[in-house]
């Protein structure tokens, strides 16, 4: 009897044990096999969608404070921001994981039978475009990088790792690879505009080709004009000067092809309201003819917080507001329409003959400027969503025979119910959620109700390429090639903007035009680098007007009986929030090659000054 019991139990346990491995073989929820992915066009698109989601780098509006790194905007959230120098890995990109993923994808895609050949061409073209774009983003911050082609590397224990070591290509080879790839894939891609410009087409490839060639051309050109050009002996950094013209020619040709295609036009749907027109050209997706490629957002789905974080307090829809705002350094770049020196900045006049200059309204000093200002920045007295953005630091009141300023808490009024300080400030304070520069963003601000709430956020897109860049590339390349066409291209952009055409085009005009046209669009940092201007402008000098952030604060005159009562004065000053000037050192022209990368691949060479 006893034996029987024991036997039964042993059998029972054995029975359980034999099922053990089945029991431990659980099925994951989110892992698919290669076959599952490449037998289904839906899944192929899903992988492509992952890649599109991973290719935003550099200065970008969906990255809080990203716009405050340079001299266009400042942090206004809490106390001072002591930033001055540039990190040696600032905006560095080295995404070989993405490159490997794309190559894995290409390899399987090419052998997939689930989709038609022409569709396959389009998808392969897009994947290769994203790969080229990734190389471009790497090359503009690091110089030449290792080119791995279509290779999908693998590793098994004890494999000879030396075979995995790939040296850096030269900067020239890297740009050439990008340009070649773009030229090869352009015919594979659709020539039609894509929905919200979210996917790559032929013109996207052409734009990348054109931008890459322009960058390479200007590096060949301006680097060699430095007293000591930045380069490595193996030319991982540094392109020979004699290559410049060829690159400029390539850039011009590609840009011209995009312009001539007619698929995109400089949007000028509201010529009577140029400020609005510029805003719509950059920031409204509907009927947009301007944007060639953008990162798209959609609610519900994926949204970002640019509007939510930076919206004026008076327009806030949630607790968040006023995390950062543009500085005077950018605002003054928008020239007076009636200026005698078109194509350059116009300083603000706050005093005349040692006396305050009185303006009739808060927006008066801004209305007379390049309408793109109104499309890019919310200034005192401007409107957002049909509601005024009141910016008032304080009052200017009589003090005996002279004047003095008074300020108060946010939204404070004097005994006569005159506003002292507006709800939006600007105000000097180390508090969160208070404007301190006197300006808010406009470009890429989302007017949709709820776009500034935490629960919804904004579906504003982030353009990578616009048709006006094709014009500006063509203008710059023409200027450098001295073919006489620069004026024609740049004036197309200026005319659309609503400023005087240029009679002659100087290098300074191009620098200026790029800054105002592409503010907040991740151009300035890379432009300043390729022109080798960054170390000259961002010189770390705390008394330099252009190296350090400045503010422009509006005060309303409250002096009953005085002829200036009700008028406005402005006071310019360095920004308390940014005590340090931007300081770009020569070593910042190229990010450092991480020592860890060199450890793992001794064939990599360091960058100059590293």
């Amino acid at each position: 009897m006893k034996t029987l019991y024991i036997t039964l139990i042993v059998i029972f346990e054995f029975f359980i044990f034999s099922g053990c491995n089945d029991f431990l073989d659980q099925k994951p929820d989110q892992i698919l096999t290669n076959e599952q992915v490449f037998s289904d066009p839906v899944m192929i698109k899903s992988v492509l969608s992952n890649f599109y989601g991973r290719v935003s780098w550099g200065e970008k509006i969906n990255d809080l404070y990203s716009l405050t790194i340079l001299d266009d905007a400042a942090k206004t959230d809490g106390g001072p921001d002591y930033r001055s120098t540039f990190e040696n890995d600032r905006w560095r990109v080295y995404d070989y994981t993405l490159l490997r993923n794309i190559n894995q994808f290409l390899k399987s895609l090419r052998s997939s039978t689930a989709i038609a050949e022409n569709e396959k061409q389009q998808i392969e073209g897009e994947a290769r475009f994203l790969r080229a774009w990734c190389y471009f983003n790497m090359c503009r911050c690091l110089g030449g990088v290792s080119l791995i082609g279509d290779e999908v590397f693998d590793y098994e224990k004890d494999k000879d790792i030396v075979t995995l070591q790939i040296p850096r290509a030269t900067e020239e080879e890297t740009y050439n690879y990008i340009i070649d790839e773009c030229q090869q894939i352009a015919p594979m891609l659709s020539t039609k505009a894509q929905k919200n410009s979210a996917r790559a087409n032929k013109w996207t490839a052409k734009m990348l080709e054109s931008r890459a060639a322009l960058y390479a051309g200007s590096l060949a050109n301006y680097n060699n004009k430095m007293s000591s050009p930045i380069q490595t002996s193996g030319k991982e950094v540094g392109i020979p000067a004699d290559k410049a013209n060829a690159y400029y020619t390539t850039a011009l040709a590609a840009a011209n092809e995009v312009i001539l295609s007619g698929v995109y036009q400089l949007q000028d749907a509201k010529p009577d309201d140029k400020a609005r027109n510029f805003y719509e050209a950059t920031s409204i997706k509907t009927n947009n003819t301007e944007v060639i490629w953008a990162k798209d957002y959609l609610y519900p789905g994926i949204t970002h917080g640019f509007t939510q974080y930076n919206i004026p307090r008076s327009h806030a829809e949630d607790i968040d507001n006023s995390y950062s705002g543009p500085v005077l350094n950018l605002v003054e770049q928008f020239e007076e329409i009636n200026t005698n020196s078109p194509g350059t900045l116009s300083n603000f006049i706050t005093k005349e003959n040692g006396e305050y200059k009185f303006y009739n309204s808060a927006d008066a000093p801004f209305l007379s400027r390049d309408p793109r200002l109104g499309g890019s920045v919310l200034y005192p007295g401007s409107f957002f969503k049909e509601k005024e953005v009141v910016l008032q630091t304080g009052q200017l009141i009589k003090d005996g025979s002279g004047w003095k300023t008074i300020t108060g808490d946010l939204n404070s009024y004097d005994e006569n119910k005159n506003l002292i300080t507006s709800l939006n400030g600007p105000k000097e304070s180390n508090e969160q959620y208070i404007n301190k520069t006197g300006f808010y963003f406009r470009k890429f601000f989302d007017e949709t109700p709820g776009a500034a709430t935490r629960g919804r956020r904004s579906e504003m897109w982030i353009p990578y390429f616009r048709i006006s860049e094709a014009y500006m590339i063509a203008a710059e390349a023409s200027y450098e090639l001295k073919n006489g066409k620069a004026k024609e291209y740049i004036n197309a952009v200026r005319t659309r903007a609503g400023v005087k055409p240029l009679q002659t085009v100087t290098f300074e005009n191009i620098v200026h035009e790029d800054r105002v046209e592409f503010a907040f669009e991740d151009h300035r940092y890379w432009d300043m680098k390729r022109w080798r201007l960054a170390d000259k402008v961002w010189n770390g000098n705390n008394t330099d007007r252009y190296a350090r952030h400045r503010r422009l604060w509006p005060y309303k005159v409250v002096a009953p009986g005085d002829s200036n009562d009700g008028k406005w004065v402005f006071i310019e000053d360095f920004l308390f929030m940014s005590p340090n000037a931007r300081y770009f050192k020569k070593e910042n022209y190229y990010n450092f090659i991480d020592l860890d990368w060199i450890n793992k691949n001794p064939l990599l060479v360091k960058n100059p000054y590293q």
Partner: protein
């Protein structure tokens, strides 16, 4: 009272393993001459036996002589009875002395007889309501108010006497007709049975592992909402820290700082949360398995195991109903008040003066008005008082327990309500049910079932931020004392009080901001079967089913904030929040567990063997989904598809584990103890060919005090017990950081990233990285060497353990296999590194009795330090790099910083100071600023001057201790628990350090003690020293605020955690109301704290101080039994 014919001392200990060689039990006598009573009481104290005799046959006061002081009981009795006509016999757990012929006389009689008796406790007090049952029948009664009973029984029957809180007694009636029964309290002694894991238990005396236990009495002396809080400071080897005191918050417990332990509740593996939310009145006992003895629980046991046994009814006991309840008042134990208006304004204006502002925000006139504080618009406001208040906590539990001959049961229902100390802010409620029932179906088969269920409910207003308790804390500092919550003080119109609209507490309530609710419904059902195959061998099976269901609903309303227009007497809207937020989370957890074992237990002569072979499996699914919608109106609470914008399906997250276990335990004469166990475990995390691991462990013990040489020596009169023990074992862990289940698989990951293409959002899919096939178990090698010593007849107990746990196989990469970044993947990690935990824990307890005054004093201490141990081929660029960054064979969690060296006393000292103290040539310094030691003597203070200055800021402290005092006198009882900790660090930051942080306030203790100007309007006026540097606006990056010993302090503390004073009402009064026992008590929690940490509870971790403070609770409570 009539003198009883027989006096019976009866006591039975509930042994799992009965000591079968009774005659060999030894006793030690203090002298050779004594009375019969003294001899018998020595036998009773030192053995498990009680002596039964008739005082007409043996004169209890007659003197006897025993030749050996240390002798076997049987020898002693032989000697004693040599010249009498008495004989003795060992039966069950008592020794019966009777006349040699008496028995036969009695046995001749048959039929029924009447027995009368009295039941008293060891102090001689009568026990009312004790159950007296004739064994094997339903025939029974209970004792009356005088503790007496009368029952008609058959002559050969045995009576079972039981009473809650006392050990059951069995006595055979034989020829006795008047019985006097003494019940022994169920207290902790060497006879205590300790759960050693996997359903096994052992006498404490023969234990070889480092296992500490705690019984129900010590646990319930707490008003903590969670079980972890009730354990803090009571057990050696447990490190604890209560970081946060919010309603329903738990205390972090770690065994010897090894990480989160495994919890096993009634044999089923559970998690911390399940343990915390037991009603701890339902817990019978807790055993803490601190060393390799935990290994029996397999792959999740490497951090130690907490084994919980819930209460069960007793066979043959009267049905007892208990009611336990308390009502308490909670207040903040410690929280630093924000600075008042005067202190704030003084510092603020002073800062503007020093920074050269002329455009003062507060004018001289305004300042004076604020100081006066009477004029409208210049009255200051106490935000702390506005937001925080004293709030109630109450608890009610009712339970019924008892048992018949075959079946025992315990049913309990309890409810706890803990309100937040934030005004009208909801809180935490929990209702628990526990049902345990067991039945002996026949001689061989026993079945049982239990259910443990609860409903946990958390509710508070639906305020912004993920953590709804954060804003009310932040608001205390962020709102200046010069701001008032309502426009024109009209409570209908909350206004904007700071630049952050969320900080106005006036709208953080159910009406204006919505409602957050989180409800968990949890049920654990267990069924168990035990079958006795033959004497000594049992088969047991336990099946558990666990289901937990969560529904979380949160709705945050849109709201408006108002200003006031004096002229029109209107309230214009100045801020509007348009973010209606509605979310819902539905989750459930389902767990199936089984545990099947064969258990063997046998004694041969002096050999005692137990063995277990078992098998265990668990499978867990935890699907969860979360959705978000934007309701179109605040009044709409139902979610519809049109307003929903996110539905996130998190998936099943299935876990599956299997394990085989074997354990063998051997002892020889209770002297030499040996234990061996092993596990063979499989986990779903690993690939098929690499998922099983084998983990053996062993322990030995030696009870030196059982040896003859010891007992015959003089030391035996001091030491009543002396045992040394050691254990060593290997415990596996599949909890590997950086390794997710299925990391061994290739393919693509769905639902990863994504983007908007073609105008629609397309979820992404991404290729997976290189499959990881190089990682396997972490192996923990645990060593423990300890001793258990009792002195003076067990009055003083002492336990000490040295321990060390080395974990091998922590994941790391072989950095010398250099995979270039350019190939786009990382080398999979391997089991390369190791870490180490080392320390000691000790416990000491003194128990004594002076007449009616019984008292005990206990203390425990745990010192447990973690080290990072072997690193894979450590390599450094230079010696500084090695000094600063090596973690090879070093203390873990070293906290680095500068060493502050006082403050600058005057301007002259600054100008002549040779060291660049602020890295700006000292031009930013002022008197009162912090000086740093230039440790590397290079003339400049920078990161090279940083040295190890502290410990972990968030972990459980390296050193924990507890002091536990109890006393009873007549009806009164007193319990006091102190807990303490040391060797942890606190780094003051944000509100506690940065001047006017984010435009807000700082604490009063800080602001009022700064270097300041004699005249705040005159920057040149005399400087008056203070403890802290002068506060300057926007100066938080100044050298004063660098990471140094000035702000980073090593914290030590001692707290009066529990104090409870109770009184049991005399029974004579109660019996009229048919009440057996009524105890009322007053209890306090966290009554005081001594610490070097300013302002806050030393167990808080947040540098800003913005952490819900622990609560001070005063309770009035009652325990009622009938």
């Amino acid at each position: 009272m009539k003198i009883s014919f027989f006096i019976l001392f009866v006591s039975v200990c509930q042994l799992f393993a009965v000591n079968g060689n009774a005659q060999n039990a030894k006793i030690k006598l203090s002298s050779n001459k004594m009375t019969v009573t003294e001899l018998f009481s020595a036998i009773e104290k030192q053995t498990d036996y009680l002596v039964v005799y008739s005082d007409t046959e043996i004169n209890p006061n007659s003197e006897v002589t025993v030749h050996k002081k240390s002798t076997k009981v049987s020898d002693c009795l032989d000697e004693l009875l040599a010249n009498s006509d008495m004989k003795y016999e060992f039966t069950n757990n008592y020794i019966i002395l009777s006349k040699a012929k008496a028995k036969s006389l009695v046995s001749a009689q048959q039929n029924k007889k009447k027995v009368i008796g009295t039941v008293v406790d060891m102090k001689g007090e009568t026990i009312i309501g004790a159950t007296v049952v004739e064994k094997g029948s339903t025939n029974g009664t209970i004792t009356d108010i005088n503790g007496k009973f009368s029952l008609s029984v058959s002559t050969n029957s045995t009576l079972i006497i039981s009473y809650l809180g006392y050990k059951d007694q069995e006595i055979s009636v034989l020829d006795k007709s008047i019985l006097s029964i003494r019940l022994r309290e169920d207290s902790q002694t060497l006879d205590e049975v300790v759960v050693t894991g996997f359903g096994l238990s052992q006498k404490k005396a023969s234990l070889t592992g480092a296992i500490s236990t705690i019984g129900n009495k010590e646990i319930v002396r707490s008003s903590a909402a969670t079980a972890s809080g009730a354990l803090a400071g009571k057990i050696a080897g447990v490190n604890s820290r209560q970081q946060d005191g919010r309603p329903g918050a738990s205390t972090t417990l770690q065994i010897r700082n090894m990480g989160t332990p495994l919890y096993v509740i009634d044999g089923v593996q559970k998690d911390e949360d399940q343990f915390n939310n037991l009603d701890f009145n339902d817990i019978e006992s807790i055993a803490i398995l601190k060393d390799a003895s935990a290994s029996i629980y397999g792959v999740r046991a490497a951090n130690g195991v907490v084994v919980v046994t819930t209460k069960k009814g007793k066979l043959n006991s009267k049905n007892t109903v208990s009611l336990n309840t308390y009502y308490g008042w909670q207040s903040m134990s410690r929280f630093a008040s924000p600075a008042d208006t005067k202190t704030y304004l003084t510092n603020y204006i002073q800062s503007e003066t020093i920074q050269g502002k002329t455009n003062y925000i507060y004018s001289k006139e305004d300042y004076q008005k604020w100081i006066k504080g009477t004029e409208k618009g210049f009255k200051s406001f106490d935000w702390l008082d506005f937001i925080w208040n004293t709030s109630p906590q109450y608890y009610l539990n009712a339970n019924v327990s008892g048992g018949s001959e075959k079946t025992n049961y315990y049913f309990s229902i309890g409810h706890l309500n803990q309100d937040a100390m934030i005004k009208n802010y909801g809180g935490f409620q929990r209702t628990n049910i526990q049902m345990n029932i067991e039945s002996q179906i026949n001689d061989n088969l026993k079945v049982g079932a239990s259910m443990n269920g609860r409903i946990e409910y958390r509710v508070n207003p639906g305020v912004p931020q993920a953590d709804d308790y954060w804003l009310p804390m932040f608001a205390v500092y962020r709102n200046l004392p010069t701001k008032r919550p309502y426009a024109n003080d009209n409570p209908n119109y909350p206004t904007l009080t700071s630049s952050n609209a969320g900080t106005n507490f006036a709208w953080l309530n159910y009406d204006l901001s919505g409602k957050y609710e989180d409800k968990w419904r949890v049920m654990q059902l267990n069924g168990n079967v035990e079958y006795k195959i033959f004497d000594g061998l049992k088969a047991k099976a336990l099946f558990g089913y666990y289901i937990a269901y969560e529904q979380k609903n949160n709705q945050e309303y849109t709201y408006k904030l108002y200003g006031y227009d004096k002229d029109t007497d209107t309230y214009p809207i100045i801020f509007q929040n348009n973010n209606p937020w509605r979310e819902r989370q539905i989750a459930h957890v389902e767990e199936l567990s089984s545990n099947i074992q064969l258990a063997y237990d046998k004694t041969f002569e002096a050999h005692h063997i137990t063995g277990v072979l078992g098998f265990e499996s668990t499978k867990r699914d935890a699907p969860r989904s979360w959705l978000h919608s934007i309701p179109t109106a605040n009044s709409l609470h139902l979610i519809d598809y049109e307003t929903m914008d996110t539905y996130d399906d998190i998936g099943n997250n299935t876990e599956a584990r299997l394990g085989w276990m074997f354990r063998m335990n051997y002892d020889y004469a209770n002297k030499y103890l040996l234990d061996f166990s092993s596990r063979y475990d499989g986990s779903w995390k690993f690939p098929t060919d690499n998922r099983w691991g084998f983990f053996p462990s062993a322990s030995v013990g030696w009870r030196i005090s059982e040896e003859n040489f010891w007992q015959e020596s003089k030391v035996s009169s001091v030491f009543s017990d002396f045992k040394i023990r050691a254990s060593y074992g290997l415990v596996g862990s599949d909890d590997i950081s950086g390794y997710s289940p299925f990391d061994y698989m290739e393919g693509y990951n769905y639902k990863n990233g994504g983007s908007v293409i073609d105008g629609e959002y397309v979820l992404g899919t991404v290729p997976r990285g290189l499959p990881v096939r190089t990682l396997s178990w972490i192996k923990a090698k645990i060593l423990d060497i300890g001793a258990d010593i009792s002195f003076l007849d067990n009055a003083l107990g002492f336990q000490i353990d040295y321990f060390q746990r080395k974990r091998d196989g922590l994941p790391a990469s072989r950095y010398d296999v250099l995979i270039p970044n350019e190939v786009g993947f990382n080398l999979p990690k391997e089991n390369l590194n190791s870490d180490m935990n080392r320390g000691i824990d000790l416990a000491i307890i003194w128990r004594d009795k002076i007449k009616e005054f019984t008292y005990s004093a206990g203390g425990n201490l745990t010192f447990a330090r973690k080290y990072d141990w072997e690193q894979y081929k450590p390599r450094f660029a230079n010696s500084w790099d090695e000094y600063r960054n090596s973690i090879n064979h070093r203390y873990a969690n070293i906290n680095w910083g500068l060493e502050a060296d006082g403050q600058f006393k005057n301007w002259e000292e600054i100008t002549t100071w040779p060291i660049d103290n602020d890295r700006q040539g000292n031009k930013t310094l002022r008197p009162g600023d912090i000086k740093y030691k230039d440790i590397n003597k290079d003339g400049i203070i920078n990161s090279l001057d940083e040295r190890p200055i502290g410990y972990s800021e968030s972990g459980t402290p390296i050193l924990n201790f507890g002091i536990n005092l109890t006393a009873t006198w007549k009806g009164f009882d007193l319990g006091i628990d102190f807990t303490g900790g040391a060797l942890s660090s606190f780094y003051a930051n944000w509100e506690q350090r940065n001047p006017f942080h984010d435009g807000g306030n700082n604490p009063q203790y800080y602001m009022e003690d700064t270097w300041h100007l004699a005249d705040i309007w005159d920057a040149e006026s005399e400087l008056i020293p203070g403890k802290y540097p002068t506060l300057l606006i926007g100066n938080s990056s100044h050298s004063n605020y660098w990471n140094s010993t000035f702000w980073k302090k090593n914290i030590s503390y001692i707290k009066l955690r529990n104090l409870e004073l109770g009184y049991k009402l005399p029974k004579q009064i109660l019996q009229k109301a048919l009440i057996n026992e009524l105890r009322i008590y007053i209890a306090g929690t966290n009554l005081f704290t001594l610490t070097n940490k300013e302002g806050f509870d030393p167990e808080n971790t947040s540098g800003s101080g913005l952490q819900y403070p622990t609560t001070r609770i005063i309770n009035l409570g009652m325990n009622l039994k009938f």
